[in-house]
């Protein structure tokens, strides 16, 4: 085995946090490479601490290693200190599992979950020892692939990535493996790289940018068209119909060093139909597919026993919507095997479902942080973004939490939303102040942290046509709010740098020409742009100027209905006219109810693929208004058609 460990061992004493590079996790797989096996190097383009917990990457890691024609190892972006050493010592990017060089692999597969990591992607390709531009790679070079939410607009990275995977990876990763295996076993003859890419382009859910021609008319995009008749005009996302068939990760990796989300994570459902109009994740992952409650319980119990963790997170885009959530929480907290020491965190909690019952269960074990996301400060604004929670919903959730002993909580908001006025922005301060007032009834030191992010319009959302707020406008709003919030000592405020929001905007809705900008920033040393100490705003604005591209055009401009969008040849299942109608509804301040418990709007996500929601409960969860602005304190009684599931008996009361 060609391990680089002996060389690395000598060098790791000189870098910060060397445990990032040793692997050795509980659950690590030490696979046997072989000529007939496709070797995947799964990469997360940020530090180990951020990347290790990524569930998508861990799921593929297990599925691939279970196959007898594939092996998978992992790699993360080396921090700047190690990168400098690797470059001077001429050591390539390596896997953390067996410390093999990237060149020993057939595929470098990068997870894209945020735009600011794009320059790190280029850096990792370069450290892997291949040309950063896809058209300069040869038959002996590894294939560079990308998956994850950002691939719904693949164009900014199209010049650097050989193929993108759109949607859920569980099934398609095997189909891809088979195509690459045939290429590998046939000896990768000269010129065969084009051939394997063409074959990959035929796999549903795979997008090979080099098989498409892009035409422009001045700054405007005219079309993205396939170069060959056997390449699809539109690449459809992949969706696994039933999460119950994919109980992964089975052996979640437990790192030796501290990482974010350092706990057991169990995905309870995928998809969300609350219909928040700013939320790309909700739109692109439809329909809702719940994991059976029994499987959740088993995964929690087995996972805790195997890992030794004392915290479990039930993850999804809106965990309180999981049918029978109170029961799963209660069963875990009260399980004698956990001897009262296991705490549960429910990230992405909707306030309207955070009842005293849930709060009481959660506080039995160690209390974890509590975060609510009202997203906007006024009811008008929340109707526009379709986050239909009322002030009463928020206050009763906050009251439940304080009454059960919490002393502080975090509230997430966005600013720079469509048609936002200063009154809407200042509404954030008012909500926060009122929450602190409620808290003071229970505890004198009650406090609230307000976290404010700048809004970036995302592809495949109704807001994809909206012109993003300028840096100046966002800064003005942030400071307006900060000055207001300062008057209340119980409210702390944190905000995202508006300049970073601009850069996200460039990449979020950019086209293929933005690739030159990303390459320019990378060539000038702009890596780790998610880290404020490394974020380099001027590198981006200078690169845009050098490329002759206008920030105004790419970021600040409102799009029109007939405009060709850079991601029109990708499909998330959503009909473009559904999104456009939803955008008009937003501007008319009209809300849209959740289609899990009301009739279908034919957005396309189910209808187009012949799949349906998998929801165990025929009624909306109890509590609050559940997005309908009606009293649902006993659970909604909306007649629905859902896929019945015999194995689940957890109907809510």
């Amino acid at each position: 085995m060609n391990s680089l460990w002996p060389e690395l061992e000598r060098l790791l004493g000189r870098v910060q946090k060397p445990a990032r590079y040793i692997g050795c996790e509980d659950g690590v797989i030490v696979p046997e490479h072989a000529p007939h096996k496709v070797a995947w190097l799964l990469a997360y383009p940020d530090t180990y601490e951020i990347g290790l917990p990524n569930q998508g990457l861990q799921i593929l890691y297990e599925i691939l290693n279970e196959r007898d024609d594939a092996v998978a190892e992992r790699t993360y972006a080396p921090w700047t200190d190690l990168e400098a050493i690797l470059r001077t010592e001429r050591i390539p990017l390596f896997s953390v599992d067996t410390h093999r060089a990237a060149a020993d692999f057939d595929v470098l597969a990068v997870n894209l979950s945020a735009e600011l990591v794009y320059t790190n992607v280029l850096n990792m390709i370069d450290l892997a020892g291949v040309a950063i531009r896809a058209d300069e790679r040869g038959d002996a070079d590894l294939l560079v692939a990308a998956g994850g939410h950002c691939t719904y607009n693949p164009e900014p990275l199209a010049d650097f990535i050989d193929f993108f995977v759109i949607g859920d990876g569980e099934e398609v990763v095997s189909e891809i493996t088979e195509v690459i295996r045939d290429w590998k076993t046939s000896g990768r003859t000269p010129g065969s790289r084009r051939h394997v890419l063409r074959e990959l382009a035929k796999v549903p859910g795979v997008y090979v940018p080099s098989m498409y021609e892009v035409t422009y008319d001045g700054p405007a995009l005219v079309a993205t068209t396939p170069r060959y008749p056997d390449v699809p005009e539109q690449v459809e996302k992949r969706t696994v119909a039933d999460l119950a068939e994919w109980p992964y990760p089975k052996n979640q990796l437990v790192p030796l060093t501290e990482v974010v989300h350092d706990r057991l994570n169990v995905e309870v459902f995928r998809g969300c139909t609350r219909g928040c109009r700013f939320c790309q994740a909700g739109m692109i992952t439809r329909p809702v597919r719940e994991r059976p409650a029994d499987q959740v319980r088993t995964m929690v119990q087995d996972g805790l026993r195997r890992t030794g963790y004392d915290e479990v997170a039930l993850t999804s885009l809106s965990t309180a919507d999981f049918s029978g959530i109170e029961k799963v929480v209660a069963d875990t907290v009260n399980d004698p095997a956990n001897s009262g020491q296991v705490s549960i965190s429910l990230p992405s909690l909707r306030v309207d479902a955070f009842t005293v019952g849930v709060a009481a269960q959660l506080q039995k074990a160690r209390r974890t942080g509590l975060t609510f996301a009202p997203e906007a400060g006024t009811w008008r604004m929340r109707q526009i973004i379709n986050k239909l929670i009322t002030e009463e919903d928020l206050y009763s959730a906050v009251d439940s939490a304080y009454s059960q002993g919490w002393r502080r909580m975090k509230l997430y908001f966005l600013t720079g939303l469509p048609s936002e006025t200063d009154e809407d922005t200042l509404g954030i301060a008012e909500l926060a102040t009122n929450c602190v007032e409620i808290g003071k009834r229970y505890n004198k030191s009650a406090s609230v942290t307000v976290s404010v992010g700048g809004f970036v319009p995302k592809p495949f959302t109704p807001f994809q046509w909206f012109g993003q707020n300028t840096v100046d406008e966002l800064s003005r709003k942030v400071f307006l709010l900060r000055d207001e919030v300062k008057r209340n000592r119980g409210v702390q405020m944190k905000w995202h740098d508006p300049k970073a929001t601009l850069v996200e905007g460039i990449a979020s809705r950019g086209d293929r020409r933005i690739g030159r900008v990303i390459e320019d920033v990378w060539r000038n040393g702009g890596t780790f742009q998610e880290w404020s100490e490394h974020f380099a705003y001027e590198l981006w604005t200078d690169a845009m100027e050098r490329a002759g591209l206008s920030i105004d055009w790419y970021v600040y401009r409102h799009r029109t209905e007939d405009e060709v969008l850079p991601w029109d040849h990708i499909s998330a299942g959503l009909h473009k006219d559904f999104l456009w109608q939803d955008w008009r509804d937003a501007l008319a301040e009209v809300g849209l109810e959740d289609c899990r418990w009301t009739p279908c709007y034919d957005c396309g996500a189910c209808t187009g693929y012949g799949i349906e929601h998998i929801v165990a409960s025929a009624t909306a969860p109890a509590g609050g208004s559940q997005g309908t602005n009606q009293d649902h304190s006993h659970g909604g009684a909306v007649p629905v058609s859902i896929l019945p599931r015999a194995t689940v008996g957890a109907a809510s009361r």
Partner: protein, 237 residues
């Protein structure tokens, strides 16, 4: 009841920090189903008490940990413990031995008075090393300044260098064998290396022993139980 165990830390896992190891231990003990006693309060933690921190990157044959158990254990169960724990700890951590601690034994942090180390001197020569060892041993004082809570503090290392001999690392590289005192504060191997030759880069270090010296008698921390037993026996006679 409390137990004390000794373990080694070798190989890749040596790059984990002291803090990392504390977390690994907590999880491992839960995984191995060892019922631990927990602290009271808002955020209960298991009662574990570690010895003096091993520098990140250092190997060791003598790391110690005291665990407060939720109930009393039979001696036979305690002797089973090393095997059980080694199985649930990461590769490179081997639990070597475990003993029950008598009541009232000082914590490791309080009790340990010195540690023996091998410290690599990367790229030195035998002659240079001899001269440097002699210079350190002959020096009446070795003043070093370090930062503590933002203020410079000066102390003298010389009285804490108890043993300093030439040695070889397992692969034949040159190094020193040193016993370094821990009271009033522990001398770090890197400080000794700087005192010997400030131009040397950090090489490998390995902790071989931790010692508890009481009234001139030097014992290893696991022998403390035995020491207390002897004393009580003497008293009973």
């Amino acid at each position: 009841m409390k137990i004390r165990l000794v373990y080694s830390k070798l190989g890749k896992v040596r790059f984990t920090s002291h803090r990392d190891m504390a977390r690994v231990w907590e999880r491992c003990l839960r995984k191995a189903d060892i019922a631990m006693a927990y602290s009271e309060g808002f955020s209960p933690r298991p009662k574990l008490s570690f010895g003096l921190a091993l520098p990140t990157g250092g190997e060791s044959l003598a790391e110690y940990l005291d665990i407060t158990l939720a109930h009393e254990w039979e001696p036979s169960d305690i002797s089973e413990l090393p095997r059980r724990l080694t199985a649930s700890m990461p590769t490179g951590i081997d639990v070597l031995e475990a003993v029950a601690l008598p009541l009232g034994v000082d914590s490791l942090q309080q009790a340990v008075t010195s540690c023996t180390w091998t410290i690599e001197m990367v790229g030195t020569t035998i002659e240079r090393r001899s001269a440097q060892i002699a210079a350190v041993l002959d020096a009446p004082t070795l003043r070093v300044t370090r930062e503590r809570k933002g203020k410079p503090v000066e102390d003298d290392l010389r009285p804490l260098i108890l043993v300093l001999d030439p040695t070889e690392m397992p692969d034949g590289a040159l190094g020193v064998l040193a016993e370094l005192g821990t009271k009033p504060r522990a001398v770090r191997p890197s400080e000794l290396l700087t005192a010997l030759d400030p131009s040397l880069p950090t090489g490998r270090i390995r902790r071989l022993n931790q010692w508890i010296t009481v009234d001139g008698a030097r014992r290893e921390p696991l022998a403390v139980g035995a020491a207390v037993d002897e004393r009580t026996e003497v008293g009973a006679r």
